[in-house]
């Protein structure tokens, strides 16, 4: 949906807010999860050369290193170990948890730090300074009229909910 900033000015904007349904807790949590996924990603964009495949031998070994004791015939194709491994990280975590339960030892899961005791601080979702106002529709925060306008035009969840 495209709504220009102009149409949202003044009373028009207030009317828009009235029409928007309030984003429920589930959607807000989904938004948070999606944000966290972006923050944990190795890359944001797609592989620009996804078709590029690693050659069997790693290119450009120094010629004079060929004399090393390592026998050439033992060198495995780069995909060999991946094919042998075939485990997802979540599978590894689960295996660790189960092994730990059986033997009563500490596991990866046990080490995760507890929740903080401190109250959350609130920041403007637009400019990053402290904020006092909450978007009624989506629960994000802003600090000023200017930032509210930007928020309404951009990341406010009311459009996607």
């Amino acid at each position: 949906m495209t709504i220009s900033k102009l149409t949202l000015r003044g009373s028009a904007r207030l009317k828009e807010v009235d029409k928007c349904k309030i984003v429920d807790e589930t959607s807000r949590r989904r938004r948070h999860r999606k944000n966290m996924e972006i923050l944990e990603a190795d890359n944001y964009h797609e592989d620009p050369h996804a078709d590029l495949v690693m050659s069997k031998k790693i290119p450009k070994f120094d010629e004079n290193l060929e004399t090393r004791t390592r026998s050439r015939k033992k060198e495995k194709n780069p995909e060999y170990y991946q094919a042998k491994f075939r485990k997802h990280i979540l599978q590894l975590l689960e295996e660790d948890r189960m092994e730990a339960e059986i033997t009563g030892r500490y596991s990866y899961q046990d080490l995760v730090a507890e929740d903080t005791d401190h109250p959350a601080r609130h920041f403007c979702a637009v400019c990053g300074f402290f904020s006092q106002y909450v978007c009624l529709a989506c629960g994000m925060r802003y600090c000023s009229i200017k930032c509210m306008d930007t928020h309404m035009d951009t990341r406010c969840l009311k459009w996607t909910a």
């Binding site: 290193l65 997802h88 046990d110 400019c127």
Partner: protein, 599 residues
């Protein structure tokens, strides 16, 4: 205990531009050594001829193995690699990269230096959540490192692995190193284990309880060490690392001014060059909100154009000229709200506690008699520790949570990124390393299970005393066991320890330490350890509470570091306590294989 030099505001941290540099400064370290050389010789009972540090350590290493040890700190973003005869590690990107401008090739590790245009760089990283899972990435990078960066010959290998490194991962690692690379012997431990060794090898054999904070690319660990072992009950992991910080900076810059979501590589450099940890967050927010010259935080960052400028840089505040054709980022509160996440994950809606809070909780989860000592030995390492202000902020926050009469010390190594490598190097010079290595023959005889058990100290870290409570209660995964705090009568592995009980009431803390050399017992003697350890912190940064004390070169010389520790080491003595891992050392292994294999 490390150093009582009062924090003066100077020299704690290198300048922002330097804060991420991984260059070693040998002149700093060596100069100090040279100064004490003559005196040290008089005291050294078995002086070796030709005693510059380098030659001596080389001699020692070669006496053990005849060849240098190959040391690899395999981080989630960069590998730190080098032979034990070298002063410092090579830092190599532990990834394969593709760039938009080059559609025919990959860039493996530091091959990226050959690439002219780094825009739109795409990462293939070997790790997920800090654990190697993508072997089709890790293996080529290792191949590259072992062939081109630092060639391996007949060297034994010491390498790092993350805590809980899973069995399947260790098995593949063994297969690669023993079967394909045909490495003669291997030892693996966590980066913090090596840091612990490094921190303690300056303290004449006494193992000081300490808390090590390793904050890297994938996550942050807060791990207490007591009596040479990790105290798992109080250890914590915060799932925030350098990757998340870079992505967060990318996100807010893209939203506020310039779309840079595809420029992880460049924004990582922006982060390294311009971000810092605020010492007074509210105040900095106030300053960043000001207009004009009173805003002392705002900076311009000149982005690289990959024509004239290969790496971006922070413009000096007075310089407002824009190089032709260059794009500028305006960085204001971004400079400190990004690293702030390490201390307040809740700022982006995460529920978890921040580093300082975790350190304090960690201290209080440890047995009471160790608590004040732990507060005096807080060590920070890993890439995020390089942020300007990181150590000071941690000190300030931890200080504010703890009782006033406790001392608090935060120790930041000169180079937090290569500190684990340095620790592994020191360990490689200790004869005891022989009993830690697993040889190819042992691997072939006993199989991968053998190495897994030898290198995984967490296998010994039992939650409850199984003898006194035969019913093993299996806890749901969500419940943290760390909250339970009645542990005073039991040691790490749940054994009843009457000493713990008796000494818990502020007894002389020297009794905690293993042997002689009383520390903290009375003010006069504690001066010794202070001077001694202040030497260990040469050209490093210490924030310390307490009276400022000048370092007397005489007494600094008196308790000389690892040299003494190693020379006095009885090779046959049990080293269970001497090593960070909680493994049962088997001293009876036949290590002749080394002497035959490495001649």
């Amino acid at each position: 205990m490390f150093g009582t030099r009062k924090y003066s505001g100077e020299g704690f941290s290198t300048s922002r531009r330097d804060s991420q540099t991984t260059e070693f400064k040998p002149h700093m370290a060596n100069r100090k050594y040279e100064r004490h050389k003559s005196k040290r010789l008089k005291q050294d009972e078995n002086p070796l001829p030709g005693t510059s540090r380098a030659t001596k350590s080389k001699l020692r290493t070669e006496k053990i193995f005849n060849v240098p040890v190959y040391i690899l700190d395999n981080g989630g973003y960069s590998a730190k690699v080098g032979l034990s005869t070298k002063d410092t590690a090579n830092v190599v990107p532990n990834c394969i990269m593709k760039v938009k401008s080059e559609r025919k090739r990959f860039f493996i590790g530091n091959q990226i230096d050959e690439c002219l245009d780094l825009s739109g760089l795409y990462y293939l990283l070997p790790c997920e959540k800090g654990y190697v899972t993508k072997w089709n990435v890790q293996k080529p990078v290792w191949d590259y490192i072992f062939n081109n960066v630092c060639p391996i010959e007949e060297n034994p290998v010491i390498m790092t692995q993350p805590p809980f490194n899973f069995k399947a991962i260790q098995e593949i690692t063994d297969e690669i190193f023993f079967e394909e690379y045909e490495v003669k012997a291997i030892y693996r431990a966590n980066p913090t284990d090596f840091a612990y060794y490094q921190y303690n090898c300056n303290a004449k054999g006494d193992k000081v309880p300490c808390i090590i904070i390793d904050t890297g690319f994938s996550f942050t660990h807060v791990i207490p060490y007591i009596d040479g072992k990790k105290y798992y009950k109080a250890a914590k992991r915060i799932d925030i690392g350098g990757k998340l910080l870079t992505n967060y900076l990318k996100d807010i810059i893209s939203y506020r001014q310039l779309h840079v979501m595809d420029e992880t590589y460049i924004i990582n450099q922006v982060k390294e060059d311009s971000c810092y940890v605020s010492l007074d967050f509210k105040e900095d927010m106030k300053i960043a909100g000001l207009q004009g010259e009173s805003n002392t935080i705002i900076r311009n960052y000149v982005l690289p154009d990959f024509n004239n400028i290969r790496r971006g840089y922070v413009q000096k505040p007075e310089d407002s000229s824009v190089p032709e054709g260059c794009q500028i980022l305006r960085l204001n509160n971004e400079r400190f709200t990004v690293p702030e996440l390490l201390f307040h994950p809740s700022d982006i809606g995460m529920d978890t506690m921040g580093i300082a809070e975790a350190v304090v909780k960690c201290i209080f989860n440890c047995p009471e008699k160790y608590q004040s000592q732990l507060a005096q030995n807080i060590i920070v390492m890993g890439g995020n520790a390089s942020f300007e202000g990181f150590g000071e902020r941690l000190y300030k926050e931890v200080r504010s949570y703890l009782p006033d009469h406790w001392k608090v010390n935060v120790y930041k190594p000169e180079n937090p990124i290569t500190y684990a490598w340095l620790g592994a190097k020191s360990m490689s010079e200790d004869p005891k390393i022989k009993s830690l290595l697993v040889t190819k023959e042992q691997y072939e005889e006993h199989g991968p299970h053998f190495t897994y058990e030898r290198f995984s100290d967490w296998l010994q870290a039992k939650k409850e005393d199984l003898d006194s409570s035969p019913m093993v209660e299996v806890k749901p995964t969500t419940e943290s066991v760390l909250l339970k705090a009645n542990f005073s009568r039991k040691d790490l592995f749940g054994k009843y320890d009457p000493d713990l009980e008796e000494n818990s009431n502020n007894e002389q803390k020297s009794e905690i330490l293993d042997t002689g050399f009383s520390v903290f017992t009375n003010p006069n003697e504690s001066k010794n350890i202070t001077d001694d350890t202040s030497r260990s912190s040469k050209s490093s940064d210490i924030i310390s509470e307490g009276a400022s004390q000048s370092v007397s070169s005489d007494s600094a010389n008196k308790n000389l570091d690892s040299e003494v520790f190693i020379c006095n080491t009885d090779e046959n003595s049990s080293c269970t306590n001497a090593y960070p891992s909680g493994l049962n050392m088997l001293d009876t292994y036949d290590f002749d294989i080394f002497n035959q294999g490495f001649v």
